[in-house]
Amino acid sequence: MSLVADPGLIAEGEETGSGRQHGYLSYVGVKVLGSIGSLLFMLVVNFFLFRVLPGDPARSLGRGHINTQAQLDAFNKTYGLGQPLPQQFWTFLKNTAHGNLGTSIQYRLPVSQLIWDRLWPTLLLVGISTILSTVIGVYLGIRGAWDRGSVFDKVSTGASLTLYAMPEWWLGLMLIAGLGVGFGFVPGLFPTGGLHSAGVNPSSLHGILDTTWHLTLPVVTLALAYLAEYSLIMRSSLLDELGEDYLQTARAKGLRDVLVRNRHAVRNALLPTTTVIALNIGFVVSGAITVETVFSIPGLGLLSTDAIGVPDFPVLEGTFLVASGGVIAANLVANLIYGWLDPRVRT
């Protein structure tokens, strides 16, 4: 029974509620299209960098294994060099789609094979540190904002600011010096580099534990470097939320403080944090490159830094493609998660 005299009078521009279900799907569609656009742009940048910018791509890409005119002709044919630029770009796209990323100058092996071999250590490193830094960083930020001004907050914020100002690989060097090599009479607890100990079968249980032991310091390094930023952002956005009116509504309903915080405030404060985490994925990948170098982890990062000195352009091009493609894909996933968290972007 309505308490209002005439419900028909209430028609102040009723919004159509039916758009909701389609809202998320169309949002997904938009984001996927955007990612495809990013991918294409990245391919253009790649092409420009490696084929257009250097004077003679044949020389830079084929150095070391092109010695005869016949080889040069074959090389030119494969890469379509000597043809007009748009055609070269098309050839480049075709080759990339087929997984033909050229041959490494250093190793004389197909770049795609090198990348495939080195992929999983990088994935492990980036994946585990992202999860750790996100979970721990968000928790520290929440606690810091809720207990604002406390000793915990001050120490946590100060430490985060300092970690944020540090090159992550330098932190890695410090950790190696402290916990790998040891100092004074304290022995090193962790290996100073590499992924496996000699003579251990990586697929065995012992091997898995060994790999974990080797990955501990690198993961800790990367995680520390980024949890600092996430904790600062989470703290800041939660502090912003704490002034909002809907929290008073929640308290007035009789909700316990913890639930007001977690169910209402944090849920909203997570939104800017998710955006930052998404934006940061590129930096985590960049950080992985330097951390792998410092710890000699045989992943994609070490592959690219080893290629700098030569310079092994096919490898550099291949790793650039894979790294960028990975970041674009991860960004898409992050955007989809954000769209699920915040209903306001779906309309």
Partner: protein, 341 residues
């Protein structure tokens, strides 16, 4: 706890029927620049089935007053006095008791419904939330039913439960807030500026809903607004606040039509009555701004803006004096005007 009324307070319904009795309430906020006294000794009573209006400009302390009913003021604020809900002091209650009062005993329809709803939760979930807190045994089907009932009572379709706040208009959000306030069948509803920022048509409908629910269920209501005409329409009695104190109190129609205190007079005159030719020529609006609570002058806090201020007004702050069923805090009541109208 006895519920005797003090001489200056209202002489309304019988003391033992008082649903809400605020006694000598003082609330001071702690700010960076020292204490900010928002409420300075307020008495207020609401009986069951009665609608009491609280009028005043922004900053006079009425929202602070409302928040103390459920002890929602910030922990850093200093509070003294009593807020007796059904005879028990909300300010002194233990957490368990307070939690039971919150929403199930008394609920608040908050001002500015634009931000009083959580933007990432659906309306239905927010309506169901107090039910889950106070009636945990209720099964889901019954909760969904009840949510649909509540929406229906404020004239909204039950499908709206799946919407998010940003998909609703201002008026719809306000109605959701009202529905939410009714969710646990409270005995007292505090409506804090429920019609501000709504256009006139919607305002009328919202006020309709509010009055029906009070009359129909015997719920008591404390309604806060700066619009005296709205209060005059709906309320049984009106309390007028200025600078944290009550400066007039009485039956609604009398306070509106024949105000005793010059401030109530100005508030009342600010809203012209249709069909009254004299109102078209009456000066509307007051010079100056409401006083800064941190820098209150000696004497009557309204004196700087009062058209009837006399030298004595600058020395002593007048107390509430009873006149039959009414009360006002002005020493110049009954004296002739200094300027002719």
């Amino acid at each position: 706890m006895t519920t005797e009324t003090t001489p200056e307070a209202t002489g309304t319904a019988a003391p033992d029927a008082a649903l809400l009795a605020i006694r000598d309430l003082h609330v001071t906020y702690a700010t960076g620049e020292g204490g900010l006294p928002a409420v300075r000794g307020v008495d207020l009573t609401v009986a069951r089935g009665q609608i009491v209006g609280v009028a005043g400009e922004s900053g006079c302390g009425k929202s602070t007053l409302a928040s103390t009913v459920l002890r929602l003021q910030p922990p850093s604020a200093t509070v003294s006095g009593q807020v007796l809900f059904d005879g028990r002091d909300v300010l002194a209650m233990r957490w368990g008791e307070l939690r039971a009062v919150r929403w199930a005993g008394a609920s608040i329809v908050f001002q500015g419904a634009l931000h009083s709803l959580n933007p990432v939760h659906r309306i239905g979930a927010q309506l169901a939330e107090p039910m889950h807190i106070h009636q945990p045994g209720l099964d889901e089907a019954r909760v969904t039913e009840r949510v649909a009932e509540l929406l229906d009572q404020v004239g909204m379709a039950p499908e709206r439960a799946k919407s998010y706040p940003h998909q609703l208009s201002g008026g719809q959000k306000q109605r959701v807030m009202i529905a939410m306030a009714l969710a646990c069948d409270p005995e007292l509803v505090v409506a804090d500026e429920p019609t501000t920022a709504l256009d006139v048509m919607v305002q009328a409908q919202v006020l309709n809903v509010l009055s029906e629910l009070v009359r129909g269920r015997g719920v008591g209501m404390m309604m806060i607004s700066h619009d005296l005409s709205v209060l005059a329409d709906l309320c049984d009695r009106i309390t007028v606040m200025y600078a944290g104190r009550v400066i007039e109190e009485g039956p609604a129609d009398q306070v509106f039509a024949a105000p005793l205190h010059p401030y109530s007079g100005a508030l009342s005159a600010a809203f012209p009555r249709v069909g009254d030719p004299a109102a078209r020529f009456a000066p509307a609006g007051l010079p100056g701004d409401p006083p800064d609570p941190r820098n209150l002058t000696e004497g009557c806090s309204f004196a700087p803006r009062c058209p009837r201020a006399a030298p004595v007004c600058l020395h002593d702050e007048p107390g509430l004096v009873a006149y039959d069923d009414r009360a006002a805090a002005c020493v110049r009541i009954g004296e002739p005007d200094l300027e002719a109208r």
